[in-house]
Amino acid sequence: MNARLRRLGIGLLVLFTLLFGQIAYVQVFAADSISQNPANATRQYIAEYRIQRGAILAADGTAIAVSERTKGSSIFKYQRLYPQGDLFGSITGYYSRVYGTSELEHSMSPYLSGSDGSLVGATLTDLVLGRPRKGGNVVTTLQPSLQRLAQTALGNQQGAVVAIDPTNGDILAMYSNPSYDPSPLSDPRSAIQTKAWNKLTNDPSQPLLPRANAELFPPGSTFKIITAAAALSAGYSQQSIWPSPHSLQLPGSTATIQNFGGEYCAGGASHVTLLEAFTESCNVIFGEVGLKVGADRLSAQAQAFGFCSIEPPTQVSCPQNPIPFSDPPFGLTSEAGRFPVSSYFATRQPALAISAIGQDNDLANPLQMALVSGAVANNGLLMQPRLVSEIRDSTGRVVQRFPTKAHGQAVTPQVASSLTEMMRNVVANGTGTYAQIPGIPVAGKTGTAQHGTSANPHAWFTGFASANGRNIAVAVIVLDGGNLGSEATGGHVAAPIAQQIIKAWLEGGA
């Protein structure tokens, strides 16, 4: 019987060897692939929430997103908080177990979670010393005071403000109104997340939509900066003379272009200069300019300012943004402005005239228009927008810098200088007088963009100024005329907002 007992022992040992093999398979060899199963979401989140995610900081060090120990009992050790409430919602995005991540919380996640290679050094030390892993801090270029001002200035009007430093492309402020507080979307209790999410997604004012950089609107007369740039680059001067009829008969068509409010340009003179037409934003003249300059030059100029070429009517979405917005140093899902390729106009001359005044298939957003103003301000050199300047590890050491980067020369310095004079004239003597700042020459261009048949026009302003060693370029849109409704113009509604932002930044530098 003892021989059989030995065999039994071997048999049982074989069974247990199978168990050893199976636990080795589950816990060691296949552990990673098992853990990555989508159904393992809770545990993946627990692991993710076990480490302290890095903070997102403003340029002055103000915390705009932080991770803190969860209060009360929760399986999640840390929770994400946004100390500035709804001020930076469309920039930080949200960090939700239930609804995923967005914006910087999404694009900067490898840094914030500490998994990026640049943070591995600290991670290994932490592992050896048994310290919990900590994420890296993302330092942005944002100025909280300007962001706050943008919020206050827009008030209850839907719209957006983008302010950049034109010399390096740094985003100083970027605010979409209404915004949202991302904190409830990262609450440890998923019921609270769901409640907040439903409220936000059912809100007709769409607070989750980043209007400043991800939505597109007709740019209206602000596009005349680009048309003027094309004309100047083509050899026309500010003083070039253009016939000024009451309305422009479009070639091969019965359609006409009229000036704003059906008025004569420059009090009814038969001819006006390019400068006068720009200062008063005469549609008729700029229709003529578009036709004279031609599709090739206009399309190329728009592209040089960072617009994406589209081929309407079949292809109206941008296949690839000319500036890689989604990657650091910007990191937000964004849309470049859109302008048709020149071939589109070959058989559509009327469209060329209408496109020259920022309608038809032209689209832009405050980010795009701030880049346009910024390029003019920066001697024609278009800088890529930069939102994240550097990554610091939990001890404060800089582990990664994102240098500023030029996108390309949009216009020659001579043209830029000429455009600057024209834009200053708009604010000094034209449609943009509400943007004036005593003692500081402000350059700008207004826009009152029709959209749809019944909606009130969007009010636009984009401009720039320098003083006290500081530079700023701004673009403002107030949707559907804001509080002025059908009476709204870019000069009345948007320019005063831009003026406040420019003034605050330039005088803050004194």
Partner: protein, 469 residues
């Protein structure tokens, strides 16, 4: 290790005591660590549980020393470590949820009751031959215990299986004790009838039907357990132990083959007839498929895997993981909870502890010179071994999951007490009657195997003899 039979050379009693104290210290350390990991402070129950645990196991050890002087010194410490670690993990899983609010206190109470049962078993059964004398009484009691839950009026269905019996305010699973009684019965019956069963009559060498009767009855009982109580795990366990003991007693591999055939038939018939058997197989095969992984049944196995995978090689540390995400983490799936918090190393250690029990149990069987002692030790050991294999294999998805407890570790009173009784019986058998045959321990024992011993067995026995010589 030599497998040859000789009077056991046991370590001194103090070795057992040292091992026992080490086991208790390790268990209490685990309990403290889980408290620190979970709440960041030393659990308030530590002094009370610590004192009671040391006192309880010391009394058990003293009783072993008093009543079973030559007993194996390792069995009790290993069981103490398993029970203590199980308690620590159950305390870790305890949460304010109504179902889990007092599982740690409850489990601790059952450990103490289990120790009481251990002590009483040793005190009442001073010599295992007492049991050999009550063959049919014990067999009948075992079958009654197994069938009790399906008797109308006393049985109760909890979690879909009619395994429970209510006796006043208490409810327990009589099958846990029934299994022990049946093993004793089989040991007794087979040791008496082994020659009849082994020799066979007629052309095909089949045993006479009247000699096989009780055996068929036992097999039938296991089928009843399967079909009426839907307890696949218990049925499988029971059947496995039965086949092993039959083969061991008779030395006829045909019984193993027959057992395998009957098992396959039972499995196929069970699969065709019962939806819950089909479900178990489906859960096992498709646990991680996207279409099923969120569903109950599949999801439990998936969560067990996720927990073990997240533990990796060394685990998250006690109190640092999330074993509460696993359904039934305190009971059937406690092995996965260990997998998460102690990792592969912890799981392997648990399995090694069971291997120690199995190794010691089989060694006891080898050391015993009488058939009853051998068969009883083997049956009890095999039961613990198969139960561990079935539940760990089920939780790790090596085999389809059948809901049984992990011996000494899982939450549950009936199982814990029954396992302490098994432990007491093993200890008793290990202390067993060495005086039945008077012989010189230095001299190799003469082969008294019957004539049907196979050539291979003879060779093995010869080798063993040489080894001792």
């Amino acid at each position: 290790m030599s497998w040859s039979a000789s009077t056991p050379a046991r370590p001194k009693g103090k070795t057992g005591l040292a091992l026992l104290l080490f086991a208790i210290a390790a268990a209490l350390l685990a309990y403290t660590t889980e408290g620190l990991g979970k709440k960041g402070k030393i659990p308030t129950g530590l002094p009370v549980y610590g004192v009671l645990m040391v006192a309880g196991f010391l009394i058990a050890w003293l009783v072993v020393r008093k009543t079973a002087r030559r007993a194996d010194p390792v069995l009790l410490p290993v069981a103490a470590l398993l029970a203590g670690l199980g308690f620590a993990m159950i305390a870790r899983i305890q949460s304010p949820e109504p179902q889990l609010a007092s599982i740690a206190q409850s489990q601790f109470t059952w450990i103490m009751i289990g120790l009481l049962a251990f002590v009483l078993t040793l005190l009442v059964i001073r010599d295992d031959r007492q049991l050999d004398a009550l063959t049919y009484t014990i067999g009948l009691a075992g079958i009654v215990m197994l069938l009790l839950p399906v008797v109308p009026g006393v049985g109760a269905t909890i979690n879909g299986a009619p395994l429970w019996v209510h006796a006043g305010p208490l409810s327990f699973q009589p099958a846990e004790f029934g299994k022990v009684l049946i093993v004793i019965f089989l040991a007794s019956y087979l040791s008496a009838k082994r020659e009849l069963l082994a020799s066979g009559v007629g052309r095909f060498g089949l045993p006479r039907v009247k000699d096989l009767g009780p055996v068929i009855l036992a097999w039938g009982t296991s089928l009843v357990v399967l079909f009426l109580e839907k307890d696949i795990g218990a049925s499988l366990l029971f059947f496995g132990v039965f086949v092993v003991m039959l083969w061991l007693a008779t030395g006829r591999p045909g019984y193993l083959l027959l057992g395998l055939v009957l098992f396959v038939i039972g499995a196929v018939v069970g699969y065709i007839l019962f939806s819950h058997v089909q479900d178990r197989v489906a859960y096992w095969l498709h646990a991680l498929e996207p279409a099923h992984v969120q569903a109950q049944g599949y999801g439990q196995l998936a969560q067990g895997w996720f927990a073990m995978a997240s533990g990796g090689l060394v685990g998250t540390g006690l109190g640092q993981g999330s074993p509460t995400l696993i359904p039934l983490s305190w009971n059937d799936f406690i092995f996965a909870a260990f997998g998460e918090e102690l990792g592969f190393i912890g799981c392997a250690t648990l399995l090694l502890m069971y291997l120690v029990i199995i190794g010691r149990g089989l060694r006891v069987a080898v050391e015993r010179t009488d058939d009853f002692g051998k068969l009883l030790a083997t049956g009890l050991t095999t039961m613990v071994a198969l139960q561990t294999f079935v539940i760990v294999g089920g939780v790790t998805r090596l085999i389809p999951l059948t809901g049984i407890t992990l011996p000494f570790v899982s939450y549950g009173g009936s199982s814990l007490v029954a396992n302490f009784v098994i432990l007491a019986l093993l200890v008793r058998v290990s202390a067993g009657p060495w005086t039945r045959e008077t012989r010189d321990p230095e001299k190799p024992r003469k082969q008294r195997e019957p004539l049907w011993i196979s050539k291979k067995d003879q060779a093995a026995a010869a080798a063993a003899t040489q080894e001792t010589a």
